[in-house]
């Protein structure tokens, strides 16, 4: 009998302890884990690679990207990331960072942009575009998003992006808004930011490119959107397509004032 009560006491203690532990929410646990990883974010390796690629003479024209105009004038990369996507008069298109980098690789270095766009993520020149985007993003770390959003083209892209965000479809009848339109939603242990408004500093649009610890891959915004569509069971959107840039414009304009932490580190 005495033994039994002892066991009960031990059990009660264990349960009590258990509930004390449970007070720390799952997302707090994840945050702690991320903070531990932050110190050695392997995105730094991609930053170094991207910086090298920017300065290196490459491609059929054997030129560097140092004259590339990312919206703030040829060769200006500081602060360019937080002002993209934007309208470019020379291409007569609204472009995001990655599609703009491909334009520069085409015009300055002589690469075939269409071939790069067809390359799977993480391979060949596409991996180089991601590394370049990682470095350019890192050069704007801590700056606040402030897309120009002044031309008619940019306004059209914003409106189209908004429609795409709410457009439901696919076998699950999902839209971006199904997961990113309400407070307190998550997929497994990952909190999902609300992207219909500014989700805050370093969240959502202000966190990508990011290094994915679980698969050791560097993920650009284009890949992020591509995978969101995969999760919705939509067909993959084309790399640098108007649809992905319209969505980026919508997210970027909404994120106005949010501090960029990119390149971030994710689970």
């Amino acid at each position: 009998m005495k033994q039994a009560s002892k066991t009960t006491l031990a059990l009660a203690l264990a349960l009590g302890l258990g509930s004390a532990w449970a007070q720390k929410s799952a997302s707090e646990g994840i945050d702690e884990y991320r903070a531990m990883l932050q110190d050695g974010n392997p995105a730094e390796l991609f930053e170094a690679k991207g910086e090298d690629l920017w300065k290196q003479k490459r491609g059929p024209k054997n030129a560097s990207l140092e004259k590339c105009d990312l919206g703030k004038g040829p060769g200006v990369f500081k602060g360019a990331f937080v002002e993209l996507p934007r309208y470019f008069a020379d291409t007569n298109r609204v472009q995001d960072l990655e599609s703009r980098l491909v334009t520069c690789m085409e015009t300055l270095q002589g690469f075939n942009g269409a071939d790069i766009a067809k390359t799977p993520f993480g391979r060949g020149e596409m991996a180089n575009v991601t590394a370049l985007a990682t470095w350019i993003a890192a050069e704007s770390k801590g700056m606040k998003f402030n897309l120009p959003y002044s031309t008619a083209q940019e306004k059209t892209f914003y409106e189209v992006g908004k429609r795409l965000f709410f457009q439901r479809g696919g076998p699950h009848d999902f839209s971006c808004a199904s997961c990113h339109g309400e407070e307190g939603k998550r997929i497994r242990l990952q909190d999902l930011p609300i992207l219909t408004k500014n989700p805050g500093d370093g969240v959502g649009f202000a966190a990508w490119p990011a290094y994915r610890v679980s698969n050791g891959q560097m993920w650009s915004m284009q890949l992020r959107l591509n995978d969101c569509y995969r999760q919705q069971r939509f067909p993959y959107p084309g790399f640098g397509s108007d649809a992905t840039i319209a969505l980026s414009t919508y997210l970027g304009v909404n994120a106005k004032g949010a501090k960029s932490v990119a390149p971030a580190i994710k689970r």
Partner: protein
């Protein structure tokens, strides 16, 4: 040639904390590719570190270490201006050495 490492070494008190990021695939040899063939193991096997040329760390690593590994250690007696060099060698015989100055 393998991509460079990122080494940061910071002195505080009588020791310096060294943080190293290595760029390596660290393929475990347990995975299969799309065609069902085993992806051969390819991982860092030996890691050594020196402080002003004198060895202060030697480690044997295996395929369980993550891709793009991060290593942190502290070196007693290291002060600002000292040189910390880290070398890795993988199971294919490739090797890479990078050096950093303690700040």
């Amino acid at each position: 040639m393998a991509d460079p490492m990122r080494i940061r070494a910071q002195a505080s008190g009588d020791k310096a904390t060294v943080r190293v990021l290595m760029s390596h695939e660290m393929e475990s040899g347990q995975r299969k590719d799309a065609a069902g063939n085993t992806v051969p193991a390819w991982f860092i096997q030996e890691v050594t570190a020196t402080h002003n040329g004198k060895q202060v760390l030697a480690a044997e690593w295996g395929p369980a270490v993550s891709k793009n590994p991060f290593l942190q250690f502290s070196v007693k007696g290291a002060k600002a201006g000292d040189k910390i060099a880290v070398t890795w060698k993988d199971n294919k015989g490739a090797t890479r050495t990078d050096e950093a100055t303690v700040s």
